[in-house]
């Protein structure tokens, strides 16, 4: 048995095996609950897996109250599909999960601009597939990555990667652009050595195949 029912929760066990989809279906039909909680333990479930679970539950008119997991990937998959999630930290097994959970501030995956308020400090990583807006500084040692454009209402002192999925027309804008390193799509540039003049918002973009920094445009 890879899946069973314990303490009013549907629990997934470590070695899920290939047949878990059917097992899961059998179980929720047999239990006949209107609302369930999922405990995914250490199982690594991707978006397809979670989507399968979610669709099945919607079909059967069952509400998923919440999903608990020790695996950060599962948590990210589930929360990106709109489930209510809790990351449970297990000291012995996942020493680094706390670290991960802390670094991966972005777990939502929708199409809208990702918005972050507050300073990103050394070691913090903020990642999104879409445009990214940070209101605050990106400190040395912190990193921001976006599939689209990056806009920083503050100072960029760390590393920024715009167009991370290959979009060469993406740009990076900041009130003060003094990064350690800039990347747009596959191009890499080191930050400017000299301090920029205060008070000019600057933008980095690809022109003639290299990354250039110029005063920010107000229209696109």
């Amino acid at each position: 048995m890879a899946i069973n029912y314990q303490n009013k929760k549907i629990c997934f066990h470590k070695d899920l095996g290939k047949d878990w989809h059917r097992e899961f279906e059998d179980l929720i039909i047999k239990k006949d609950e209107r609302a369930i909680e999922l405990d995914c333990g250490e199982c690594k479930l991707n978006c397809y897996d979670i989507d399968y679970i979610k669709t099945l539950c919607i079909d059967k008119n069952i509400e998923i109250i919440s999903l608990v997991s020790q695996n950060i990937k599962t948590i990210i998959s589930a929360s990106s599909l709109g489930l209510n999630t809790t990351l449970r930290l297990n000291k012995n097994i996942n020493k680094n999960t706390a670290e991960l959970a802390y670094s991966y501030k972005d777990i939502h995956n929708d199409k809208s601009t990702k918005f972050h308020k507050g300073t990103l400090r050394a070691g913090e990583v903020l990642e999104t597939n879409n445009d990214l807006l940070v209101v605050g500084d990106v400190n040395p040692g912190a990193k921001v990555i976006a599939g689209g454009n990056i806009m920083i209402w503050g100072r960029l002192l760390g590393i920024a990667h715009a167009g991370s999925k290959g979009n060469t027309s993406a740009s990076i804008t900041a009130l003060q652009l003094r990064p350690v390193q800039l990347r747009i799509a596959k191009k890499v540039a080191r930050g400017p050595k000299e301090k920029p003049e205060e008070g000019f918002t600057e933008e980095a973009l690809i022109e003639d195949d290299i990354i250039v920094i110029k005063p920010a445009r107000t229209t696109k």
Binding site: K91, A98, Y102, T119, L120, R121, A122, G123, E124, D137, N139, P140, G141, L157
Partner: protein, 271 residues
């Protein structure tokens, strides 16, 4: 006292920036100002708070025996002879790291909070288990850093972790400030540091040979009533921590006064 006890974590990220020295001197200063103060060594791997306070030879029991309930808290506490308002709770042996949990640390700090007004926790370097345990038991924090890029970077990382753990307030102490080097821009300036870390500056501590001398003797500068630059800095920090309004020293004015020159001369003769 329990609820208004101030449990302050003294941490840095990078090692060797002056956490233990600050803990010892702050402990003495606060105690001297009349507040019952406990200093707790959370650096089980490389403990040396006992050494700095000159209490190494008086340790019988440690936090370990208290947790194992083989002794009472007051048996493990080492009271400072010259400054009886100050007590040290020594760290257990390094193997304690294997089993110590955040709850254990909370328990110890909870017990200390019943007797003391200040509990200062000397945190180990790094951001691993030892740090996490100490964070779990703390309410507020002092970040110690040096005017060096690597120390500031690590401090920034730690501040991020403290923020996610709801530690408030977090204040900054900039240690080993050398006015001359700052002036000639060979060292990060105070503004460079506070600009990145964006924390209220609790105080500066000047680079001072006397710190090393006192460390070797096991007598914190604040204990012997030294008038050396670092000693003044430490007691200013203690004062500010208690809410006194004490202006920051201006490093560019340090060491220029006649008094300073005279003191330097005296010190070179004596030591």
């Amino acid at each position: 006292m329990t609820s208004d006890t101030r449990v302050i974590l003294i941490c840095s990220g990078k090692g060797g920036v002056g956490k233990t020295t600050l803990t010892a001197n702050l402990g003495i200063s606060l105690a001297r100002k009349g507040s019952p103060t406990a200093v707790l060594d959370a650096d089980f791997g490389l403990r040396n708070l006992d050494l700095l306070l000159g209490l190494e030879n008086r340790i019988v029991y440690t936090a370990q025996e208290v947790l194992e309930e083989t002794c009472r808290l007051d048996q493990a506490l080492v009271k400072h002879k010259q400054e009886p308002n100050l007590s040290l709770l020594p760290a257990g042996n390094p193997r304690m790291l294997d089993w110590l949990k955040p709850e254990d640390m909370k328990k110890i700090v909870g017990m200390l909070s019943e007797q003391f007004q200040y509990v200062l926790i000397d945190c180990p370097a790094g951001v691993e288990d030892g740090f996490r345990n100490a964070v779990a038991a703390s309410k507020e924090a002092i970040i110690v850093t040096n005017p060096e890029v690597s120390a500031v970077r690590d401090a920034d990382r730690v501040i991020g972790l403290l923020n996610t753990n709801d530690i408030k307030p977090v204040q900054l102490v900039l240690n080993r400030v050398r006015p001359k080097m700052m002036e000639s821009q060979e060292m990060l300036s105070i503004d460079d540091v506070t600009d990145i870390l964006a924390l209220p500056l609790l105080g500066l501590v000047l680079e001072d040979e006397q710190v090393i001398v006192s460390t070797n003797r096991g007598e914190p500068l604040t204990l012997i009533g030294s008038q050396s630059p670092a000693a003044r800095c430490y007691s200013n920090i203690a004062g500010r921590l208690q809410g006194e309004e004490i202006p920051l020293i201006d490093p560019s004015q340090e060491g220029n006064g006649l008094g300073d020159k005279f003191r330097r001369l005296m010190q070179t003769k004596i030591f």
